[in-house]
Amino acid sequence: MTPPGTLIDRMIAAKASANYQGLIDLVPYASFLGLTAAMQGDELITTMRYGDHLIGNPALPALHGGTLGALLESAAIFELLWRAETVVLPKTITLTVDYLRSGAPVDTHARGVVTRQGRRVTNVRMEAWQADRSAPVATAHAIFLVMRS
């Protein structure tokens, strides 16, 4: 059922051609969320395009907390895939999200920064923002297992 290395092979190809979006399009859930990725300067920015299906509180309205968590986790994984010399699918061990503001029904951007790269685990800090980067809607940190299986 699992063709050997298919996802990894395609990720390596996407990396080789600097095709950030190609990396994302391999993941069905990323398309469901409406994620896109692009280099802005030297930063890999992941964007969650607004869609009505992302709403968690229709009264405000505000984005579902789960969508922000997923965006932050994805931004960290894309950063790891992008920066790593070898392509290894990171496994999330733990993720902690601080919700700072309610997410408005607009596009949300996120970036992950590696705080420590170990032999087995990598620590990443993430933040998500909307119109004003200095006022993040959520921050997070996560630890990933990055060993080749």
Partner: protein, 154 residues
């Protein structure tokens, strides 16, 4: 629908009806296909049916961690509502999720959350996500929620 549970009281039945009605108004819960299965006291049980659009690794068909995060966030919030004596707006302060193992493809994930402490301002929750049986845990989470948040800005 046949109801095999007998450990719910009238209040639980009312809370279950409210939780089902509330979840129907949440577009993202609907997009994920989340179903409200049960409310007993301050414990709520949600189901996330398996869906290919939620897959994180297309080679293995395993669900993306983000879908599990959304399930645990949704049922943790519902547990706070179940514990409240009067309905007030709430906002997630933080949520920590430990991923114990990958979800098995093709199977629903059950999210079971409880609000184990409520103060004037803050509610504390814990939750697990499991498949098949409650001891087959795939993720564990703890969360904090702010109570009586401002409802809108306009």
């Amino acid at each position: 629908m046949p109801d095999e549970r007998d450990d719910r009281d009238d209040q639980d039945v009312r809370k279950l009806e409210m939780a089902i009605a509330f979840s129907r108004t949440v577009p993202h819960n609907q997009a994920l296909g989340i179903r409200v299965l049960d409310v007993i006291g301050t414990e709520v049980v949600f189901e996330l049916p398996y869906d290919r659009k939620l897959v994180g690794n297309p080679d293995t068909g395993t669900l993306h961690g983000g879908a599990i995060t959304a399930l645990l966030d949704a049922c943790s919030g519902a547990a706070v509502f179940a514990a409240l004596t009067e309905l007030v707006p709430i906002a997630t302060l933080d949520l920590r999720i430990d991923y114990l193992k990958l979800a098995e493809p093709g199977k629903s994930v059950i999210g079971k959350a409880s609000c184990y402490k409520m103060t004037r301002n803050v509610a504390f929750t814990r939750a697990v996500a499991y498949q098949d049986a409650p001891d087959n845990v795939i993720a564990h989470s703890v969360g904090t929620f702010m109570l009586s948040t401002k409802h809108g800005k306009s």
